[in-house]
Symmetry: C2
Amino acid sequence: MNDIVSREIHLTSRPDGLPTPDNFGLVERAITPADDDIVVKNRYMSVDPAMRPPLTNGQQPVDVVMSGGAIGQVIASNNADYPIDAYVMSRAGFREYHISDGSDLNVIETEDEPLTAHLSVLGGTGLTAYGGLLVTGELKDGENVFVSAAAGAVGSVVCQIAKIKECRVAGSCGSDDKVDYLLNDLGIDYAFNYKTSSIGRELHTGLPDGIDVYFENVGGKHLDAACGQMRPLGRIPVCGMISAYNNKGARSEGVTTLSNMIYNRVTMKGFVVYEFNHMRDQFLADMRQWMREGRMKYEETIMEGIENAPHALIGLLEGKNTGKMLVRLAD
Amino acid sequence: MNDIVSREIHLTSRPDGLPTPDNFGLVERAITPADDDIVVKNRYMSVDPAMRPPLTNGQQPVDVVMSGGAIGQVIASNNADYPIDAYVMSRAGFREYHISDGSDLNVIETEDEPLTAHLSVLGGTGLTAYGGLLVTGELKDGENVFVSAAAGAVGSVVCQIAKIKECRVAGSCGSDDKVDYLLNDLGIDYAFNYKTSSIGRELHTGLPDGIDVYFENVGGKHLDAACGQMRPLGRIPVCGMISAYNNKGARSEGVTTLSNMIYNRVTMKGFVVYEFNHMRDQFLADMRQWMREGRMKYEETIMEGIENAPHALIGLLEGKNTGKMLVRLAD
């Protein structure tokens, strides 16, 4: 195959606070594929809150391509497991082309859903919500559930699974448009804009009997308010703490209500999505059924072109997305 | 039986901050036992940090005797299960005499240990440490353990069980004398006075590989420091948060490091001692064996007379005890 010029987004300096475009660079790289290489042309790249902590804690090296999920199409291959035109998932990150021996690729088996669903509801985002709520959160039918960042990619799936499980669901979000989306599109019971209200008072109103499961995406003031209103044997699966990620040392605002965990015997537990990999078949079957039944909706916020990937990540950290944040790459 | 005059300590007003003697009153009550009554004369009363939150949260009613553990001797009884002179445990609290039908009494079977051990290492205090560390904390042999309030009644038992389980143990306490006690009497690996040092730096020094189990008795700054140094799959059994109890709403100083729980998949879990009641036989067998082997020591801080019970509780909240705080009642 001929040489390829692939454009990539590198981390060029570590952000102090909210990342800025200056922390990233667009790098052109010439690639000469070998005969045995599988060449993947990326179509969609995933933009996730979990990409932020590695920028500061060192897991993401500087002057290296930004790591992350992506879906691409095989354009050159001598490997029958990864035939030309197949769609494949990788963690190869913010780049236009990806050269692989196949070991880091998973072929995507689409049914009647759009390709991008495999980066959101049917991908790691959906599995995070499903496993975090049902396994880590040990959700029981009919419980009282609070979801922060409820209009985000993970939060919106959590809300809908909790409603399917006949729970009373309250969600927080950062705009009145998102409140409308949560109430009218996702059909949860109570939603509020945390920027213009008291989280504690809203929770008293929305879940007057207290909280059985708080699905934690935000941290800080959200956790402070929720922890004070947990019911006996409540669970707090900790998916993320986006309010802390742009602070020095990823420190959140101080949480002062943790003593409520003692007599109420509350469990708070951090989790990561790979814990749930063994459940992927059941997850896909459940999610596809719920999608067919119209009970699992999803939104996408799509930005265009590799050069906009840093803006997509910064916008995500500012809460500018509803649902999944994606970057679409040019054909 | 003749009338008895029993003196009791009542909560008379709810404290705002550290309780003062004015929040309590000494009340004399005349009791006329019926023929079927079991009359218990209390000998020792237990003084516990867990008595503080009910003073504010309403679980302890005002103008009612202070609830708590006590050991007494039966002085009148027609019930063969509770014979005269038997020692019995109750939760009847700060009072000289207790009238019972037996349903709230447990006869104490002493072996070669002193009676007071049944209010400390062999009582609820010991079971709290044992269950909290081994069950809630899921301690594994050889792990790295941090214990706050390590020279307290529960903390000192936790330290010794962890050493028996071949763990590396660091403990915090509030005086240099207690540091000496922890290192030289209990034989833990590292101890520091949190009032004169940086908890975070001490933990780095004492447990340089990080913390597998943080046995939480204090909250606030202790938790803030420990949570930032938890190892993957670490556990934080939450026994108490004594630093918060005298604050409005039992709010601790703010904890800002909880995002560390996510990628390290840390579990924090509140517990109460009654969860472990089913383990009492195994607990007693283990503890008595360790005591015989000289591997389980305990200290007591004993105050004299029912009139000093409020001072004992206030002193406990100020950290004036080493080991178990007790009140001995006059013969």
